[in-house]
Symmetry: C2
Subunit: 281 residues, 2 copies
């Protein structure tokens, strides 16, 4: 292994500690803590675990969680109404709707019920447009976390060729747009891409967001590439770690890379929303 | 020259004739014609010309134009209010806000005042999200016109490598997203891209949307590439036509390629909105 580790766990910990101090200060000034509402629909065990992790991390930095649980038979209308109430609630600063919702729920409609000013998980059309047109605003949490990781490690993006493998709503698509906003040349690859190895082999930066364990082989990489792996299944990412670490210059481990940064981005954006909403930004 | 011409003028004419017949039929059924409102802010002569062309073409197919002109000192608030009135007017089926607005006007805010159901020029965040997530809905008119041109000529997109040169709000960004939605592998290049020639040289499909005359040299192209040129300045596109036509398999002329298709897409989407709003779709 010759690559250096993009240590998401350590970076997220540092961000969390910075936030902790900032939130204590803000809470004293404003007279209340920032509030993040989490909306969980149905019984998916992984989703329950993710929400629990997010809530724990909120408490750790002094953000007050407000937990909304809707049962698995919830309709789109009911979920939209619940989110709309949170959007209108002056004491809620951020809203997170945990993905995925049960199949009968139109997830996009539920996302759109989030007030853009509270969209700290970056899932609305308005946030997508902000990312596409480089207008600031909230970022989708996983791509936003990856960008923060790059920033903390001083990874240069301008003029680099970035290949994003995957085109999902909350990961691949916004990831490419954020990289484009930092002046990278961006290629989107996906399940219908022919010559995936060839595309990956030309990249200075590879973001793996396909959700297919070890899809990307280390031998495909250009020597010295930067690799961020957003895949996660049973402690395995979308990239073959061992062989990739031999060729890359920087690589995220799985776990301990992108995952912790996702939550860090969510918390940062919740605090940002709190500051904007209470005019302390 | 060995390339065949992607004849936008002829294709737009065919679409216009089809629409003419359809609109006559729909107007008889509904008891009124489809209405497209155009909003023009300020004195830019090119914008006046474009709006006039669009209005003429509307009349030609039986769409009733409603022309709103706001003077060059219009504020964002005034422009937003004008667009909101059109959004709420039950007899308006489509709204076009001519780009560019004068500098004091926040164009994005004016765009967002368009009811997504009337966004026949495809400029709102909601339309961007529809394009990004392949959900149907209205397309930005120029990229939408290029997609229709590809479709009419049977240009295969699935699994092909498309390079989009440019990343503007209403052209480059949506263009790439639409190609991605048709399962192309998509690379966005732009002014900060290093090795533009190299990227272009790998493309099966090149969409030039940089607004820089003859930026793209014919010798850069892969033999047999498909070239759509959305550039336009003094009858010159973003691609060096002569040398490109020697290498490409298909190419759009400038003028007579992408330009007429932009208006055709706008008209088609206005009729589509009319059908949806009057429940004849």
């Amino acid at each position: 292994m010759s690559a250096q580790i993009l240590d998401g766990r350590a970076t997220a910990k540092a961000i969390t500690e910075e936030l902790q101090a900032e939130v204590a200060d803000l809470t004293a000034k404003v007279g209340r803590a920032p509030v993040l509402a989490t909306v969980l629909i149905g019984d998916d065990p992984a989703s329950h675990t993710y929400v629990k992790m997010k809530i724990n991390r909120c408490r750790q930095v002094g953000i007050e969680p407000r937990k909304i649980e809707l049962d698995h038979s919830t309709t789109t209308e009911e979920a939209v109404a619940a989110v709309r109430r949170l959007s209108e609630d002056a004491e809620v600063d951020g809203i997170l709707v945990q993905h995925p919702a049960p199949p009968q729920v139109d997830e996009a409609a539920v996302f759109e019920a989030i007030d853009p000013a509270k969209d700290v998980d970056g899932v609305t059309s308005g946030s997508l447009a902000s990312m596409a047109f480089n207008e600031g605003g909230f970022r989708s949490a996983t791509p936003g976390g990856i960008m923060r990781l790059f920033e903390r490690y001083g990874i240069e993006l301008e003029g680099k060729h970035a290949v994003v493998v995957g085109r999902s709503r909350i990961l691949g698509i916004p990831m490419g747009l954020l990289l484009l906003g930092q002046n990278a040349t961006v290629t989107y690859c996906h399940s219908r891409t022919t010559d995936l190895a060839d595309h990956v082999g030309r990249a200075d930066i590879v973001v793996a967001a396909a959700g297919r364990p070890e899809l990307i082989k280390g031998e495909w990489l250009k020597a010295g590439a930067v690799v961020a792996d957003a895949g996660y299944a049973d402690n395995t990412g979308d990239v073959e770690f061992g062989s990739a670490a031999d060729r890359a210059r920087w690589i995220t481990p799985v776990p301990g890379g992108v995952g912790p940064m996702t939550i860090a981005c969510l918390l940062e954006q919740t605090v940002q929303s709190f500051k904007q909403r209470t005019r302390l930004a």
